[in-house]
């Protein structure tokens, strides 16, 4: 990474880290939500963007992470860090057990299977006594938003660095090969099953950590909100809008879409969703490779960028 870029990145992180000091309380809360969504998007990026398996069920890992922290802290009175580790362990176990059959499916079948699994988890968890069943669990309160903010930022930096590592490692190359041509990758010596499951588990680990932090911050969780299906589409849209399969794409996507969404809901309440949907539709047609690709190519092609995209994809 060139020195100029590295300095820029450090400056950006430093600026973000300083928000609890120069920003309002509302901004800090907005920040935590956005940062955690960015982590989810980045986690999805590993399995969806780099490996080419678009999971619609990463909310399961998020929920497992949330419940991991909640159960560890409430039922067993263990510290937060242990809870986080427990949540990650749950997520990885899930990825290993169910990843094997699910990752044999391709394309939209994989997407649907993961979505179906996500739907089922809510109902299953609602019946586990240890998890507080339908009522959920209440965690010990910790009123320290700046701390959660810095934790979330740290997690996002970790996730992004991991993705950056992917692009220059053998593991990452294997994933990309799988995405580009799975059979070709196998014939060249890539153990596709192992790599896919590992990517799924890695993706799950980050989602679980995000869920764990969120649970402790919110202090309360129940099956519906912990395994919120809507998160799936949010993280996918953010990653794709910013640019799936790139290092900064999910971050850019999460930040920009959160900002837009926030602006809209403060201006015109019900039109927010409408605009959001319209943005998605327009983006898929005009800039399917996401914002980062747009920024890169726009300098070269200008308005023709959009026309080129349409021409390449239309009937």
């Amino acid at each position: 990474m060139k020195a100029g870029r590295a300095i820029l990145a450090l400056a950006a992180v430093a600026a973000l880290a300083g928000v609890p000091w120069y920003g309002s309380d509302v901004l800090v809360q907005f920040g935590i939500n956005t940062l955690l969504l960015a982590v989810l998007a980045q986690g999805w990026n590993v399995i969806g963007g780099y490996t080419g398996y678009a999971s619609f069920g990463n909310s399961v890992f998020y929920g497992l992470g949330s419940y991991g922290v909640a159960i560890a802290m409430v039922q067993w009175e263990l510290p937060f860090a242990v809870g986080l580790a427990f949540g990650v362990a749950l997520a990885v176990a899930f990825a290993l057990l169910l990843g094997l059959p699910v990752l044999r499916l391709r394309g939209h079948y994989f997407a649907i299977a993961t979505l179906a699994l996500a739907q089922v988890m809510t109902a299953i968890v609602s019946n586990i006594a240890l998890a507080g069943q339908n009522i959920g669990l209440v965690l010990p309160p910790l009123n320290n938003d700046p701390l959660f903010y810095e934790l979330s930022l740290g997690l996002l930096v970790l996730a992004t660095l991991t993705v950056a590592w992917l692009t220059r490692s053998k593991f990452g190359f294997g994933l990309i090969a799988i995405r580009e041509n799975e059979e070709g990758a196998a014939v060249m010596g890539v153990n596709t099953t192992l790599y896919k499951v590992a990517a799924f588990a890695l993706s799950g680990a980050f989602s679980a950590l995000a869920g764990g932090i969120h649970a402790y911050w919110i202090t309360f969780l129940d099956p519906e909100s912990a395994f919120d299906i809507g998160l799936n589409v949010k993280m996918i849209i953010m990653a794709v809008f910013g640019g799936a399969g790139t290092i900064l794409g999910p971050v850019v996507g999460a930040f920009s879409l959160s900002a837009i969404s926030e602006l809209l809901s403060s201006e015109v309440t019900s039109a927010a969703g409408l605009f959001f949907g319209a943005v998605i539709v327009a983006a898929v047609v005009l800039m399917p490779r996401g914002l980062t690709d747009l920024l890169r190519r726009y300098r070269k092609s200008g308005w023709r960028y959009f026309i080129e995209n349409i021409r390449a994809h239309k009937l």
């Binding site: 678009a54 059959p101 699910v102 044999r104 499916l105 394309g107 939209h108 079948y109 997407a111 649907i112 299977a113 979505l115 179906a116 699994l117 739907q119 089922v120 109902a123 299953i124 609602s126 589409v233 996918i236 849209i237 794709v240 019900s270 039109a271 969703g273 409408l274 959001f276 949907g277 319209a278 943005v279 998605i280 539709v281 898929v284 047609v285 399917p288 349409i310 390449a312 994809h313 239309k314 009937l315």
Partner: protein, 287 residues
């Protein structure tokens, strides 16, 4: 024993309705390779259309179905021609995203236009029912089932035996060859999508007679239609029928013997099993 029989009958009647809901999705998915996440929202629109026809114009919901279907056909044709044709050759994932965006837009538009109140279509004969031995057949549900059956058979005949139906299937299988034969793909694609939405609209009209409608029913219905299409198999309208009946019966049984919240778990659990064990569905060929 009587209770079980009643539950089974309920499941079958429900299943028939589910099947026609899923037909449109399966058609568009199997033929055009478009995974329409907004399908449920279009069912919702069809339901509202029927409601307005009935409430404001006094048109019987069953007799008004062709109107609803026609309106949605036009909408579908326009959407495909004007928007979806632009991304047909993009990775399939893009259709997922764009239809998701459409779903969000439609739901909000519906909320603005119709408010979030629950509505139902209750023609005067809705309360009647037939007794058939130990079971009771509610009139509205029975009629819905009958129409659903007719539509499914119609779809099957159309796709497999009519010229237009075969042209549609040919275009889906080999675009270049179809073009060489003089088929205009943009038109055919639009017709197919229009048909898919027409079916959704008709299903919505039927749905409105047996259940309450509000702007948010779209997402759950879409999910169910997915389950049905996959369980039954995408290639064959009869497969979708089987899938629908299967789901209807399973849901009824689960609601009775386990609990209402588990109906969804059962459907999705079965979906997962089918995907793991037989992705082509109970009646489909290999995908």
């Amino acid at each position: 024993m009587n209770l079980l029989a009643q539950i089974l009958v309920n499941g079958i009647l429900l299943g028939g309705l589910y099947a026609v809901m899923a037909q449109g999705l399966a058609l568009v998915w199997g033929v055009l390779n478009i995974v329409n996440l907004a399908h449920g929202a279009f069912i919702m629109l069809g339901a509202y259309a029927s409601w307005y026809l009935y409430t404001d114009l006094g048109v019987d919901p069953f007799l008004g179905l062709p109107v609803t279907a026609a309106a949605l056909f036009v909408l579908g044709y326009a959407l495909q021609r004007g928007l979806l044709n632009l991304i047909v050759r993009a990775p399939m994932f893009n259709t997922l995203l764009i239809t998701f965006g459409l779903e969000v837009v439609l739901t909000y538009l519906a909320q603005l236009a119709f408010s979030a109140d629950f509505r139902a279509i209750n023609p005067p004969y809705a309360g009647n029912s037939y007794a058939l031995g130990p079971v009771t057949l509610p009139m509205a549900r029975l009629a819905a089932f009958g129409v659903a059956l007719a539509l499914t058979l119609g779809m099957w005949l159309f796709l497999l035996h009519s010229r237009l139906g075969r042209a549609i299937r040919a275009t889906a299988q080999n675009l270049v060859a179809a073009r060489l034969y003089g088929v205009e793909p943009r038109h055919l694609y639009a017709v197919t999508f229009g048909l898919g939405l027409a079916l959704a609209g008709a299903a919505g009209g039927l749905y409105g007679t047996v259940s309450q409608i509000n702007p948010y029913i779209g997402a759950t219905l879409t999910a169910k239609c997915f389950a049905i299409s996959i369980i039954g198999g995408l290639d064959n309208p009869l497969g979708v029928m089987v899938g629908g009946l299967f789901l209807g019966i399973i849901e009824s049984l689960t609601t009775l013997y386990v609990g209402p919240t588990f109906a969804d778990v059962a459907s999705f659990g079965i979906l997962v099993l089918v995907l793991f064990l037989r992705p082509s569905g109970l009646l489909g060929r290999a995908a």
